[in-house]
């Protein structure tokens, strides 16, 4: 039953992924001229001799002399069957090697942000709903409003300025200068924590604010329902009552928020990490776009989109597991 559901969802996702990959390929093909020419020009400008044989190999390997739709199929075939995302002309390395560690960082930071958003937002949302119109509720509604409206990149800009002015430490990058390039150690990890914490805080801010609002609204709906009144009338302790009944129901739709939370976190991460200069995909993406290093930029977009789609799939599956109404073939309300 569950397995069948998962299979069905995956099959539904395939055309979606196909369409996404076509859009991305079109986007990276948009700039005028092909990027190999741009690359060769750039090399010649900086006085580097271009090896004609290498150019030919590259052209043939990626079908750069063929029509666009064939190039697309070559690109896709290389990715799917050989795990080859193409070559970064800017770094003169395969894209997979350039992306590798940075992709890992992006996934870790986005994932941790997601967890942090949930851990912070859900209790606050519940508490705000129980104590509606209290000072706590107003304070968090206000903070939430600011967090939702003021964009992360401006918060990042202002916070690195404030930190620099008050402490004299430039909070850019994920590590202090002495740890850059050093092997992983306990000290390096400790050094990373405040920096990573700031990044995660800023990235998660908008999502947290949105989630608090949603959780609060859902809880308010549930709290007014009959079964809560009944339970209270029967003398169930208030804390137990809240956690056992309305929270359990209100938390289900929260799982489906991954669908919008994950893309927005990854989006926000790209922008914030450029400003904080984190070793993630964001700064790399920007540089590759400015240099028209299109295989790199395209691969980044593709990977990030696939991650988003997979994240949504996982949230769907989780929802099915958690919510018996869906599990037993009913409809989600």
């Amino acid at each position: 039953m569950l397995l069948g559901f998962i299979l069905k969802r995956i099959i539904q996702l395939l055309p979606l992924l196909f369409a996404v990959s076509i859009i991305i390929f079109t986007v990276i093909q948009l700039p005028p001229g092909d990027y190999l020419t741009t690359y060769i020009q750039a090399l010649e400008l900086s006085g580097i001799e271009v090896d004609a044989a290498m150019v030919q190999t590259l052209t043939r390997e990626y079908g750069l002399d063929r029509p666009a739709h064939e190039q697309y199929f070559i690109w896709m075939r290389n990715i799917l069957f050989e795990g080859d995302f193409g070559r970064s002309f800017q770094w003169n390395q395969p894209v997979t090697e350039v992306i590798g560690e940075r992709l890992m960082m992006t996934i870790i930071i986005s994932f941790v942000s997601l967890i942090v958003v949930w851990v912070i937002a859900i209790p606050i949302g519940i508490y705000s709903a129980i104590r509606q119109h209290s000072l706590f509720d107003y304070v968090f509604s206000f903070i939430g409003f600011i967090g939702m409206t003021v964009p992360g990149f401006l918060i990042a800009l202002v916070s690195i300025y404030l930190i620099f002015v008050t402490t004299g430490v430039a909070f850019t990058g994920l590590f202090s200068t002495e740890f850059i390039g050093a092997p992983w150690s306990w000290a390096k990890f400790i050094d990373m924590l405040p920096r990573a914490g700031l990044a995660i805080f800023i990235i998660g801010m908008a999502g947290t604010a949105g989630l608090i609002r949603q959780m609060r609204a859902l809880m308010l709906d549930e709290l007014r329902k009959q079964y809560v009144v009944t339970a209270r009338a029967k003398g169930v302790a208030e804390n137990k009552l809240i956690l056992k009944y309305p929270v359990r129901i209100a938390i289900n739709p929260m799982i489906s928020t991954i669908g919008w939370l994950l893309p927005s976190l990854i989006s926000g991460e790209a922008l914030v990490s450029i400003i904080l200069n984190l070793p993630t995909m964001g700064p790399l993406m920007l540089r590759s776009l400015l240099a028209q290093d299109m295989f790199l930029a395209g691969s980044f977009l593709l990977i990030v989109s696939v991650l988003t789609v997979v994240g949504t799939l996982i949230s769907d599956i989780l929802l099915t597991v958690v919510d018996p109404r869906i599990r037993f073939g009913g409809v989600a309300s």
Partner: protein
């Protein structure tokens, strides 16, 4: 007796009062009720006023800006915001505000540039002062500025100067013309695409609905900002400003219509079952006419709310892209382009006033959100 009379008088007055307002409430049009409800939302009113001021400053930026955005004062590079004073160094009061000219010194040890006020050189601030000539709206030439000093070589930088000695305040005002208009222009297209496609999906249903829904699914599964970045990077760098501007409008509306389309679709799905739709259909009205004449007006207020909330998103999009160097390019000024100067932490530490454009961005975004919140409450006045 007298007392009783008084009481009855009072109560009857109270009743007639209620009757009065009740009557007014019952005959009031929907839009009037909305306005009454909106008026109660103090924060939204304030936001509306702030936005109004910002837009007036943007529309008449040539007049309100003391200088043109590219005018350089070579002696005032990185000059901090001017100290507008009413008391001079001797403690004398002057009703007309004035500034002291600043003098640049370079610290012999750290090579830091230090500006000190020269209390000998006092320059009064005048309103409607003659300054740099400009062509107002491209229509006629004039040289009247809202405020300024009368000496051409002593600038008044109320928000400081940038690294080329240009007035940040003037640049922000000129930039606001681009950034603020961007919000409206893109939202117009978002509204057009969103209501058209959402309308078709919701009204026609069936295959059309499925196709449009799938397109939305595809578009929202690609993270917005990276896709914006890639699309903006595809705009040729050597394009004239107007083309890049329109190109970015296109990018924003291409990806922004999905939210609105979903809302329109949802609304139409319920409205198309209503009797008045059926009546129109029986009278032989075309689909297009039913959607735009009958259905959309019936939830116009919801559209207005959503449009208000969509404007800040597009303004932020422009700001972010220009800030990253993917959007508008200098010498064009927009808030994002201005913020590029504030990118380096070393610059920021010495010239924190370069963050002023961010204040304007935040003010605008908060303004639109509060306004939208107020409108949302007002949109359903019968609640």
């Amino acid at each position: 007796m007298g007392l009783l009379n008084k009481i009855t008088k009072k109560t009857s007055k109270g009743i007639s009062n209620i009757d009065h307002s009740r009557e007014a409430y019952e005959v009031a049009s929907q839009w009037q009720l909305m306005w009454w409800k909106f008026r109660k939302h103090k924060l939204a009113i304030i936001a509306g006023i702030v936005l109004g001021i910002l837009y007036i400053l943007a529309i008449f930026c040539e007049f309100f800006a003391p200088y043109t955005p590219l005018h350089r004062f070579p002696d005032h590079k990185d000059s901090p915001p001017a100290n507008v004073r009413f008391f001079d160094a001797e403690g004398n009061f002057s009703i007309r505000p004035f500034i002291y000219d600043v003098e640049l010194e370079v610290d012999p040890v750290s090579f830091r540039r230090i500006f000190t006020e020269n209390t000998e050189s006092k320059h009064y601030i005048y309103f409607f002062v003659e300054g740099e000539p400009y062509t107002f709206w491209g229509l006629f030439e004039t040289n009247i500025h809202f405020f300024g000093t009368k000496s051409a070589d002593v600038p008044i930088f109320i928000l400081g100067g940038d690294f080329l000695g240009r007035d940040l305040f003037s640049r922000i005002l000129y930039g606001s013309r681009i950034s603020l208009s961007f919000g409206f222009v893109s939202v117009f297209f978002v509204l057009l695409f969103g209501s058209l496609l959402g309308g078709l999906a919701g009204y026609l249903g069936g295959t059309t609905d499925t196709i449009i829904q799938r397109v939305i699914d595809v578009l929202i599964s690609i993270p917005t900002i990276p896709l914006w970045m890639a699309l903006a990077a595809a705009l040729p760098r050597d394009w004239p400003t107007l083309n890049i501007y329109l190109g970015m409008v296109f990018i924003m509306s291409l990806l922004g219509w999905t939210t609105l389309a979903r809302i329109v679709r949802g609304k139409l799905l319920s409205l198309r079952e209503e009797d008045f739709t059926m009546a129109a259909r029986l009278c032989g009205a075309t689909h297009f006419r039913i959607i735009f004449k009958h259905l959309i007006p019936s939830f116009a207020s919801f559209l207005i709310v959503n449009v208000t909330l969509a404007i800040p998103a597009t303004i932020l999009g422009e700001t972010a892209l220009s800030f990253l160097g993917l959007g508008l390019q200098p010498p064009t000024v927009s808030w994002g382009v201005l913020l590029r100067d504030a990118q380096r932490i070393e610059t920021l530490a010495h010239q924190p006033w370069l963050l002023w454009p961010a204040v304007f961005v935040v003010l605008t975004v908060l303004g639109f959100n509060f306004l939208g919140d107020g409108l949302r409450d007002a949109a359903d006045p019968y609640k």
